[in-house]
């Protein structure tokens, strides 16, 4: 589900607070609103022109510029903006070398993958063998995994260049990057504001064009929310669509690696690159991965009211009292926009909607308390020496974890304690299924025909 609606009237230029040479680079391409056009055959429908990935590929193959030149341009912008943004925890030393390899292949007329020359940021809770992967935590400061995450491996196989590891709230726990053990990422649109989280670094990096696309992870909104804060496209795929192998686990039943891009097409191309079954992740789906990008049509080729017939429910409880009026008006604006595009939008009531958040919290805290028990200072990570084994665990974890992480582990430990499992974890599982039934019944029976 895409979190950022690129409103045609907003954000027509680059962030003002960054220095002027930065603002001269590539402007944001905004999807134009649908215009009336006579029906066209499939062969006439060109892909959207706002895709950086496709335009990079075109330029590289036509010799308009080289991968090295492109990489240099991005790296210069990255270095210029990084002191103000703090999106990255680590920047690769191999970018130009990898770009040169792409150029060599192109010169020899060899095949290059769809992500050739594309600079990709990777959230630091996704393992990369040749770069540190800290998860935003002191307990893994300096840690180098012995393998690449499957998502990273696939990006590299398709020619993508990992430009660096982006900042995040520690182990994905947070919504502002303020819970990172190392730094806070600023919002490129207003440096006094946060970039959101937990994938704040990945969102800011794409928003400020420090890289073309980036990978993040989303357990309870951690790709969608920072994408919205930084005005980029952020996509959380369905659980199981993308392999979690190499993604540092937070809540194993909820985690999903997601994509950031400056356009829907770019997010779709990246999603296609990383999706698919993985033998190293038993929870990864065996369902076929469609070619998302080939299904995108430029807005100029759409007939008017292209979403005619689509019925949309707007959950009343999400726009009730207590919601900021600015937020309410943006949501109503989006609903009107959908109506202009042909949807029938109906307000529906889902009174049990609010149970989702406490249920999520119980599940996420419980699973994280279990998942983070592997960080004990014994086989990897930073160790506080002690005379006795339990003290080694306790002190290494006390020193290595931030307060947010400790809180959630303690909460999860409580919810899973003997005698409490039924009241909390099991109940949260039931509520989760109950909510799914509620959603389905609203979709099937609650929307007018």
């Amino acid at each position: 589900m895409l979190s950022a609606m690129q409103h045609p009237l907003l954000f027509s230029r680059f962030p003002r607070h960054i220095s002027s040479s930065f603002a001269k680079s590539r402007p944001l391409h905004i999807l134009s609103s649908a215009q009336p056009t006579a029906g066209l055959s499939v062969a006439d429908q060109s892909p959207p022109s706002n895709s950086q990935i496709l335009s990079i590929r075109h330029s590289l193959l036509s010799g308009h510029f080289t991968a090295t030149q492109l990489a240099e341009s991005y790296l210069n912008r990255l270095k210029l903006t990084e002191p103000q943004l703090n999106s990255f925890l680590h920047i690769s030393n191999n970018v130009l070398k990898e770009a040169q390899e792409i150029d060599d292949k192109i010169k020899k007329k060899e095949e290059v993958g769809p992500l050739a020359g594309v600079l990709v940021g990777v959230k630091d809770n996704i393992c990369t063998a040749d770069m540190p992967s800290t998860g935003g935590s002191r307990i893994l400061e300096g840690y180098r995994p012995p393998f690449d995450a499957t998502a990273v491996k696939r990006v590299k196989e398709l020619g993508g260049i990992v430009v660096g590891k982006t900042n995040l709230d520690e182990f994905g726990m947070g919504s502002t990057t303020e819970a990172s053990a190392f730094k806070v990422t600023a919002n490129p649109w207003d440096l006094s504001r946060v970039a959101g989280g937990s994938s704040g670094g990945s969102a800011a990096a794409v928003s400020a064009r420090q890289c073309v696309v980036s990978l993040g992870s989303d357990t309870g909104g951690s790709v969608r929310q920072p994408a919205s804060f930084c005005d980029v496209v952020g996509l959380k795929p369905t659980y199981g669509r993308v392999s979690r192998f190499g993604l540092m686990a937070y809540a194993s039943s909820l985690d999903a690696s997601g994509c950031f891009g400056s356009s829907v097409t770019d997010a779709g191309i990246l999603l296609h690159a990383i999706s698919g079954h993985d033998r190293f992740d038993a929870t990864s789906s065996k369902q076929e991965v469609p070619d998302y990008a080939s299904q995108f049509i430029s807005a100029t080729f759409l007939k008017s009211r292209p979403l005619e017939g689509l019925r949309v429910g707007l959950i009343r409880e999400t726009i009730d009292e207590g919601v900021d009026s600015g937020v309410k008006s943006v949501i109503h604006g989006a609903a009107s926009h959908l109506e202009q595009l042909g949807c029938m939008v109906t307000e529906v009531s889902l009174p049990s909607f609010s149970l989702g958040l406490p249920a999520y919290y119980i599940l996420a805290s419980s699973e994280s308390s279990s998942n983070l028990s592997r960080y004990d200072g014994v086989r990897y990570g930073n160790q506080v020496s002690a005379d006795e084994l339990n003290s080694l665990y306790e002190d290494s974890r006390a020193k290595g974890f931030g307060p947010e992480v400790k809180m959630r582990i303690l909460m999860g430990t409580y919810a899973l304690s003997a005698g409490y499992y039924d009241a909390y974890y099991k109940r949260a599982q039931q509520v989760s299924l109950y909510l799914k039934h509620m959603y389905l019944s609203v979709i099937l029976f609650g929307l007018p025909r």
């Binding site: 180098r144 012995p146 709230d169 994905g172 726990m173 947070g174 919504s175 303020e178 600023a186 006094s192 504001r193 946060v194 959101g196 357990t219 309870g220 951690s222 659980y239 199981g240 033998r279 038993a282 789906s285 065996k286 409880e317 009730d320 009292e321 207590g322 609010s354 149970l355 958040l357 406490p358 919290y361 996420a364 308390s369 086989r379 990570g381 160790q383 020496s385 002690a386 005379d387 084994l389 339990n390 003290s391 665990y393 306790e394 974890r397 809180m407 582990i409 909460m411 430990t413 304690s417 409490y420 009241a423 909390y424 109940r427 599982q429 039931q430 509520v431 989760s432 299924l433 909510l435």
Partner: protein
């Protein structure tokens, strides 16, 4: 991760914004909870909202943070225990909402979605990059990973 939710007030039902619990620069509250809007600097705007815990959670004993910390193998200083305890209590009261829903007819799903059989063949494979694993071990004495002795407490 904490999703950025809206605070909804409806009568006695306690709806908390998740920002509320997990900002440890807050002072602990008694009966009212504070909603923090987290800007980049920690000068939060505090909006007070009335909350009352409902639901059956109060029938379970309050969390013993010291015991939880031992179970989770995290050493906590006494001031940390004092700081965490009310926050944890607040969240647990908030969890109480789930107690009032009638769920007798609902099976607890492992996941809300269903998944097919997905295990790979049970054939051992050698991991190639063992050297990287070895170099990551903080205290290594080939071929042993060294740890201090275990003290029997019981």
């Amino acid at each position: 991760m904490a999703s950025r939710t809206s605070l909804m007030l409806r009568g006695l039902s306690p709806y908390y914004c998740c920002c509320c619990f997990f900002n440890l620069s807050s002072r602990s509250s008694s009966s009212s909870s504070k909603l923090f809007f987290l800007g980049k600097n920690s000068n939060p705007t505090i909006r007070y909202c009335s909350t009352k815990a409902t639901g059956g959670a109060s029938s379970l004993p309050p969390p013993d943070v010291t015991h939880l910390a031992k179970t989770a193998r995290i050493s906590l200083a006494p001031n940390e225990v004092e700081e965490f305890a009310p926050k944890i209590q607040q969240v647990i009261d908030w969890f109480g909402q789930l107690q009032v829903v009638d769920l007798d007819s609902v099976e607890p799903a492992i996941r809300a979605e269903s998944l097919h059989e997905n295990a790979r063949e049970d054939i051992p494979e050698t991991f190639e990059n063992r050297e990287a694993i070895r170099t990551s071990v903080p205290s290594y004495d080939d071929p042993y990973i060294k740890v201090p002795k275990v003290l029997n407490k019981e």
